[in-house]
Symmetry: C2
Subunit: 308 residues, 2 copies
């Protein structure tokens, strides 16, 4: 019989991950709280959608592997609590969310109290993972990771690469956290560079063509540059994109971790701060600065509340 | 007859660029002030080494293309002065150094006064360019760039990609300057990430294995990460590498340019500042800080001059 995994959470990540596992010839029993998400996967070869979490657990071979692909925080926590009442000793829960590694350490301890096993898995690759495979960073005991390995091999770009058992519980999400911290820095560096190209108006540089040229033979070629070249070729002015950059937990945790460990990460942390600024969170400080200049030097301030 | 280029400066870059052009079936007349560098290329198929700059000029078909691959600044300036006395109207000089784009704009004007044409070419790819090809960013008039195009097509990773006529004189070196500014930011982001992985000692993470895993399927995969994975696999402790990072003109020019244009480039600029710190240039400030803490709080200072 084909080995099967239970996939909980069928959003952009979990849905495509289910498809990739099924296409590798393994079985997927899939459930999402939202009926629409379940419908999106219904009828896919190798995927069985079920109506409840209990039905998902019942449909899996023991020892079960249940992969959670939910938003970190409360959705993950609530589903874990429900799962603990349904699973049996020896079953493995994988958390593929961008969870805080200290939460993962705690969850591993809590589940162990019920005889359950926990694997924390950082998953990278976004919407491109279905085709390219996912980068996977995994933490937990060797035996638990071994139970999950067939699915890791199916999800990765190739069975023997792009996935790593990084260490004990927490190591997967810690590694993914640092991965995302690096990502913040890389993105900010590219963004600043393209802004500087565009600002030199007398040279009339074509940022889309430069991005495309840089993809080949240069020191800065990368997958993020590939993506940038692709969207700049379609629209290099980006006027329909508001200059507001969201941030998620990983960037903040990276900065906090560097402070707790006393390790300087100035660029990763500054890239996070730039995102806060883009969200308008630096505006009160800017008002203070403008007002101070007025106070000591009589400099004009802009009265329009919108500024700029 | 095969078209030929004159290559002046046969160091790590110019030597391999000569080889790559010759392997593409074009001719190279090569000269370096240092006899040893000339010897290193002697006997290579398609490459003719000559003893003087005058001999190089005489051996080329008109209109000539002479490519300078010298250190920016005085070596380039002196050779340009000598060349101006040797070349004829319509000849093209290409500067492949990491020159300041404002120098390139000036040189284009000066050479035009002699009827000579100037092309500024940013060249990326380092010691890997011989095999992979070079990323080339070129500035100058279309006719001048057209004369150089056969050689650009040979140097690039493929004839139709990895090289770009970016714009007028200066546009090539400006684009290369920004490329290197981005490179500073990318390198710093990766470096901080690996430091943070290593600092979390309880997880005992293997940075070499993580670098290798990250190469596949993740958002942060890149050529710089490929290089990092390669050297970490050989030696992940790096105890034989002093923690001192040199900087070259391009990083500084990027920061200065962003100030002159009033465009924020915080991460690229901070990455440069971190290099200054690594060179010990922040030590006096750190002494001031340590001494100030002693003054206001009676905090202990380390008396050993070496610190740390």
């Amino acid at each position: 019989m084909v080995d099967s995994i239970g996939m909980v959470g069928l959003g952009r990540m979990g849905g495509n991950m289910s498809r990739r596992i099924a296409r590798a010839g393994l079985g997927v029993v899939a459930w999402d709280r939202a009926a629409g998400a379940r419908m999106g996967l219904a009828g896919e070869s190798g995927v069985t959608t079920v109506e409840t979490l209990a039905a998902l657990v019942q449909a899996l071979p023991a020892p079960r592997v249940v992969w959670l692909m939910l938003p970190a925080g409360r959705p993950t926590e609530e589903t874990l609590t429900e799962l603990r009442g349904l699973l049996a000793a020896g079953d493995v829960v994988v958390d593929g969310a961008n969870a805080w590694f200290k939460d993962s350490m705690r969850r591993a301890r809590e589940l162990a109290g019920d005889g359950l096993r926990f694997v924390d898995a950082g998953v990278s690759g976004g919407v491109w993972g279905l085709v390219n495979g996912y980068g996977l960073m995994v933490g937990g005991e060797a035996e638990s990771v071994g139970r999950v390995e067939p699915f890791l091999r199916a999800l990765a770009p190739a069975p023997d690469r792009g996935w790593l058992h990084c260490g004990p519980s927490g190591a997967g999400h810690y590694t993914k956290m640092v991965h995302n911290g690096i990502e913040y820095g890389l993105m900010q560096a590219y963004a600043e560079g393209f802004a500087l190209l565009r600002a030199r108006e007398d040279l009339d540089l074509d940022v889309a063509k430069i991005a495309e040229a840089w993809r080949h033979g240069t020191v800065i070629r990368s997958w993020l540059l590939d993506l940038t070249a692709e969207f700049l070729a379609e629209d290099s002015e980006l006027e329909s994109i508001a200059p507001i950059v969201a941030d998620s937990g990983e960037g903040r945790w990276t900065a906090i971790e560097s402070i707790e460990l006393g390790v300087p990460t100035p660029v990763m942390t500054l890239a996070l701060m730039q995102r806060f600024s883009s969200q308008g969170r630096g505006e009160y400080a800017d008002r203070i600065l403008a007002r101070l200049r007025q106070s000591f030097g009589g400099h004009a301030v802009t009265r329009d509340n919108k500024g700029r």
